[in-house]
């Protein structure tokens, strides 16, 4: 939910690229709703 800082943690699909190839993982990152 919303944090006191006015930022909100959201789940994001994050792309990862290694020498073996590219894939995605689900991570959390805060986002500035203002």
């Amino acid at each position: 939910g919303a944090e006191a800082s006015g930022r909100k943690w959201e789940q994001k699909q994050v792309q990862i690229k290694t020498l073996e190839g590219e894939f995605s993982v689900t991570m959390w990152a805060s986002d500035d709703k203002k």
Binding site: E3, S5, V14, E20, F23, D32
Partner: protein, 438 residues
């Protein structure tokens, strides 16, 4: 009053100093006036970032994922993914310097992540390993680098004109020009200083600087500048750039000349002294003199706002077990307010007139930080919070005797998190070692 000399700075490293043990750095969120001070809550241990892989023999720069093991101010102790419980390769870095990125930054730029050479063969399926380690974990906000850069912009510009306390006569102000801006700290040069050496360092939110015309507007003494012709390109710093003070209602009961109180001695910040309201100015400002050490002409009175965290009602020190410095020459010791008020036929300023706000500042005794030596305001030093009394912090300068300690308000713009000097390019004074002190 003892002042510290600048020391050789070249070999101090916060990471080595803080280490991975119990020593703590004050969190960036304790310092609302610094870059990122209002957007650091989400930076926690366990967050993943993409950083340079220093353990690679490839000809080009490559990155790998690391997690934050420990935070100290802007600095973070990082551990590359794959080292698990092995702290041997942990390394410190400043999260706000370029080349620290949220996970996903490399892929967005088409750069492959490459694991450190020493653990490359430890894992056969790095994709599976990373999916397992990263899924559900946290990373930096996507706009982190942009936020850092944005917060490093400062509105004060070179050659802007301000009014600032006259360091040789605290009771008056003078016009000064902004000559340098570093991390929000201003190097001001008094306007009459022909060779530019008569300077004064303070933070842009310091209560000691004001817009042109402030002194006249509140009845504060002012040294008229003998510069008749205003240089081209000069402009008065706009009023909106300066720290605001609370509006106060002076129509009811208010401070009066002669009322007694306790105040941090502006000429010796390690002491809180018996003081007197010498003159009540407009907009809630007061001229305060330190009892027993006032020049006859009032030239060392200092202007404090009535909401200033540096003035206290009589009895504050006694209640909080703080040593109160009695008036110089007052021989009736131990000092007792009751006796002194009777002996001087004075009254104490009413407690209700003082600012009682205590913000949830977050400081804890033992925390490390970078603090201005307010007796030598150009020096920012390695320091420790050694004591906390409500919103008042006792700041100790590492390696120096306790007599250099200073009482500083928790919201003072002269306190900075670990790593602030590195981020802004300001020179940090390391802890004094016995040899260098001598």
């Amino acid at each position: 009053v003892k002042t510290k000399a600048a020391l050789p700075v070249d070999s101090f490293d916060w990471g080595n100093y803080i280490g991975s043990g119990d020593m703590m750095g004050a969190p960036v969120s304790c310092f609302k006036h610094v870059p990122m001070g209002n957007s650091w809550e989400d930076i926690k241990e366990g967050i993943r970032v993409e950083v340079l892989n220093s353990d690679s023999n490839l000809p080009m720069k490559v990155y790998w994922i690391a997690s934050i093991v420990k935070l100290a101010g802007f600095k973070a102790l990082l551990r590359y993914e794959g080292f698990d419980g092995d702290s041997g390769q942990d390394f410190w870095c400043n999260l706000c310097v370029p080349d620290i990125h949220p996970v996903g930054w490399c892929a967005s730029g088409g750069k492959p992540l490459v694991p450190p050479k020493s653990i490359q063969h430890k894992v056969t399926n790095w994709k599976g390993f990373l999916v397992k380690r990263l899924t559900g974990s946290k990373t930096l906000p996507a706009d982190f680098s942009f936020k850092v850069q944005e917060s490093m912009q400062f509105p004060f510009k070179k050659l802007m004109r301000v009014e600032v306390v006259d360091k040789a006569h605290l009771c008056r102000t003078r016009v000064a020009l902004v000559q340098q801006v570093i991390g929000g700290r201003l190097r001001l040069v008094y306007e009459e200083s022909h060779d530019g050496s008569d300077d004064f360092w303070c933070h842009m939110y310091s209560p000691l600087i004001h817009s042109i015309g402030w002194s006249r507007s509140i009845g504060h003494r002012f040294k008229r500048s003998d510069v008749t012709k205003k240089m081209d390109g000069l402009m008065d710093a706009p009023g909106r750039l300066f720290a605001k003070v609370k509006d106060v209602d002076q129509s009811g009961e208010w401070f009066k000349d002669g009322m007694k109180l306790e105040a941090i001695d502006p000429l010796n910040l390690s002491t809180i002294c018996v003081a007197t309201v010498r003159k009540v100015l407009a907009d809630g400002y007061l001229m305060i003199g330190i009892d027993g050490s006032e020049a006859a002409d009032g030239s060392d009175w200092i202007c404090y706002h009535s909401t200033s965290p540096s003035i206290f009602p009589a009895g504050f020190c006694e209640i909080n077990s703080i040593e109160l410095t009695p008036p110089r020459g007052y021989t009736k010791l131990p000092y007792r307010w009751f006796d002194y008020l009777r002996d001087t036929s004075s009254v104490a300023a009413p407690v209700k007139l003082f600012n009682k706000d205590v913000p949830n500042h977050g400081f804890v005794p033992g925390m490390k930080l970078e603090a201005v030596d307010l007796m030598e305001p150009r020096l920012v030093c390695v320091a420790t919070v050694t004591r906390i009394v409500h919103r008042l912090l006792r700041i100790h300068f590492d390696g120096w005797e306790d007599e250099y300690d200073q009482w500083v308000d928790c919201e003072s713009p002269d306190l900075y998190p670990v790593g602030w000097c590195q981020l802004t390019g300001y020179q940090l004074q390391p802890p004094a070692m016995q040899a260098s002190r001598e």
